[in-house]
């Protein structure tokens, strides 16, 4: 899932301070699970902003609300009208949600209430780790299920650099060396010799480097378009 993390309240305040009516709008999926932007955190942010407004002697109405997900239009529909009552929507969804909603709120700005951190897992309660970089071309079968793109600080494809120190990455003793993990894993799998094969330079065009990406499922789109066409012609006949 997508892991988010909270922005300092000062930063949020500098974004919202000139608005009169602010809705802290939560997404109750990924970012809720990582305690960054679910309804509970939205309520906290709303309260802190009201308190801050009080400290600064500003009159500001700050409410909070949530929907299940910010990345599918249907979820907004029931609240779209309500959203129109605000000067600013501070979305605590991930960046996807902020973009997606921004496109739909007309003159009302949508600002990010959290930072979108990465795709990650809940290693243990309160511990979220990045495990995938969404590069669009998965090679995990070659690396023992441990992604060097997401987890090696240098996205090395052919083994560790010289910076591995006691199994940790040169950037911090708190960061595991992905290649150390890969080697240990491959040893366990009895596959270490597979790592001898040289991975050629990657084609990064499937990742962000290829420009904004889109996945388009023809079989589903074609059906939806047909249905749309049908309803249009049916409407025309009336």
């Amino acid at each position: 899932m997508i892991i988010g993390s909270q922005k300092p309240i000062d930063e949020i305040w500098s974004m919202v301070k000139d608005f009169k009516k602010v809705l802290v709008f939560a997404c109750n999926t990924c970012v809720a699970i990582c305690h960054a932007g679910g309804e509970k955190e939205a309520e906290t942010i709303a309260t802190l902003l009201r308190m801050r407004a009080g400290q600064e002697g500003k009159s500001m109405e700050v409410n909070f609300a949530s929907v299940v997900r910010h990345c599918e239009p249907e979820y907004f529909e029931p609240v779209m009208e309500e959203l129109q009552k605000y000067d600013l929507i501070l979305s605590t969804a991930c960046g996807v949600g902020v973009n997606f909603l921004s496109d739909r709120t007309g003159k009302i700005p949508v600002y990010p209430g959290i930072n979108t951190s990465f795709y990650g897992a809940v290693e243990s309660p309160g511990n979220f780790v990045e495990l995938c970089a969404g590069c669009g071309n998965c090679i995990l079968h070659l690396t023992g299920g441990i992604c060097p793109i997401a987890r090696c600080s240098k996205t090395l494809m052919n083994g560790p650099c010289g910076g591995t120190n006691k199994g940790k990455c040169e950037i911090s003793p708190d960061v595991d060396c992905a290649w150390y993990l890969i080697v240990e894993r491959m040893k366990k799998l009895g596959n270490l010799e597979k790592l001898a094969e040289i991975q050629p330079p990657r084609n990064w065009s499937t990742s962000r480097d290829g420009g904004p990406r889109r996945v388009s499922l023809e079989h589903i789109r074609a059906y939806e378009e047909q249905e749309e066409l049908k309803s249009e012609t049916a409407g025309g006949k009336k």
């Binding site: 650099c161 591995t164 040893k187 990657r202």
Partner: protein, 326 residues
């Protein structure tokens, strides 16, 4: 001859090769480079010109290499994967070749967070590139040189002829993988290898046994890395904090003894330790060169280039062979 560089010639001659290191300055002061080049000239077969090592901005490796070259010191330009994508890398390689550079050492590069181990501000917020890794970079150089093709496949009318080097950390984690790591670099096309600094000669030799079993010592020229110790503190730091370097206690003790012999005299302590460091270096050079499969040494006297002359002489590696240029 793949490149015709001096280093390649020395290696082909079968004599132990000696490389040193020249760190370009963190300013536009080209004199600093020429000064250091003149200090090293004559005492090594080629000198590595580092590529923004420890992730701090310095005169670029290519530019400094050209400056050194002009002074008569053969440079080994370094190329890290950190700062350029394959387009930038290949463009720079073409440029370097056009400027007469013949050795290139391929490296991953220190991570931008490194910032001279925190001693300098550096640029920890920089975006790193790592479009390709070391192994792939070696392959690109080889493809350009031997196939006359860019990585993408476009032809090169005049191919850059580099003597291709790569680094190797023989005693780094995960130690089981390190021979395979070398194998991959050799398979990719590394003509020579410079290793991380060696103090633990026993461990190094056991790794070299594996390398010999794999026959890699015949397919590439391995130059053992020697980092000249300046003080007991430096040895301790390298032992605890530098990846892939472990320093036997006996060596640290020797340095400590030298330090203690000076009593409270700090200046004397430094002098005694430096002297002991040079002595120790010479011993290490001998031990490394006695290791079967080793074809030379890479001596790093970090910010202490003046030490090289004495070391090379004491080690009996002076004078350096001279070849007629074709």
């Amino acid at each position: 001859m793949k490149s015709g560089s001096n280093l390649e010639r020395v290696i082909l001659s079968g004599k132990p090769a000696v490389t040193a290191e020249l760190g370009p300055p963190m300013s536009a002061d080209g004199h600093e480079v020429t000064k250091k080049a003149n200090i090293l000239k004559g005492f090594c077969d080629a000198a590595n010109i580092t590529d923004c090592q420890t992730a701090v901005v310095r005169i670029s490796s290519i530019a400094a290499a050209v400056l050194a070259h002009r002074e008569g010191l053969e440079p080994v330009m370094q190329m890290t994967c950190r700062d350029r994508n394959r387009i930038g890398i290949q463009a720079d390689l073409l440029g370097a070749a056009a400027l007469g550079l013949k050795n290139c050492l391929c490296l991953a590069g220190d991570h931008q967070k490194f910032s001279a181990a925190g001693r300098l501000k550096g640029h920890p917020g920089a975006k790193n590139v790592y479009d390709v890794d070391t192994c792939q970079l070696v392959g690109i150089l080889k493809k350009m040189r031997d196939e006359g093709k860019q990585e993408g496949g476009d032809p090169l009318e005049v191919a850059p002829k580099f003597f291709i080097g790569a680094s190797w950390t023989p005693m780094g984690d995960p130690i089981d993988f390190r021979p395979m790591n070398l194998l991959k670099k050799v398979n990719a096309g590394a003509d020579f290898i410079q290793t991380q600094g060696i103090y633990d000669i026993e461990l190094f030799r056991s790794q070299m046994d594996k390398i010999r079993n794999m026959g890699l010592h015949e397919r590439t020229a391995i130059l053992g890395g020697i980092i000249v110790p300046k003080s007991a503190m430096m040895l301790k730091y390298m032992d605890s904090s530098v990846a892939g370097v472990s320093v036997p206690k006996a060596l640290i003790d020797r340095m400590n003894k030298a330090k203690e012999a000076a009593g409270d005299d700090k200046k004397k302590a430094r002098e005694l330790q430096e002297a002991e460091g040079i002595k120790l270096t010479v011993e290490l050079i001998h031990q490394v060169l006695e290791t079967p499969g080793i074809r030379g040494v890479h001596i790093q006297a970090i910010e202490w280039e003046t030490a090289i002359e004495g070391i090379v002489k004491d080690a009996g590696l002076y004078p350096r062979p001279i070849f007629e240029t074709e």
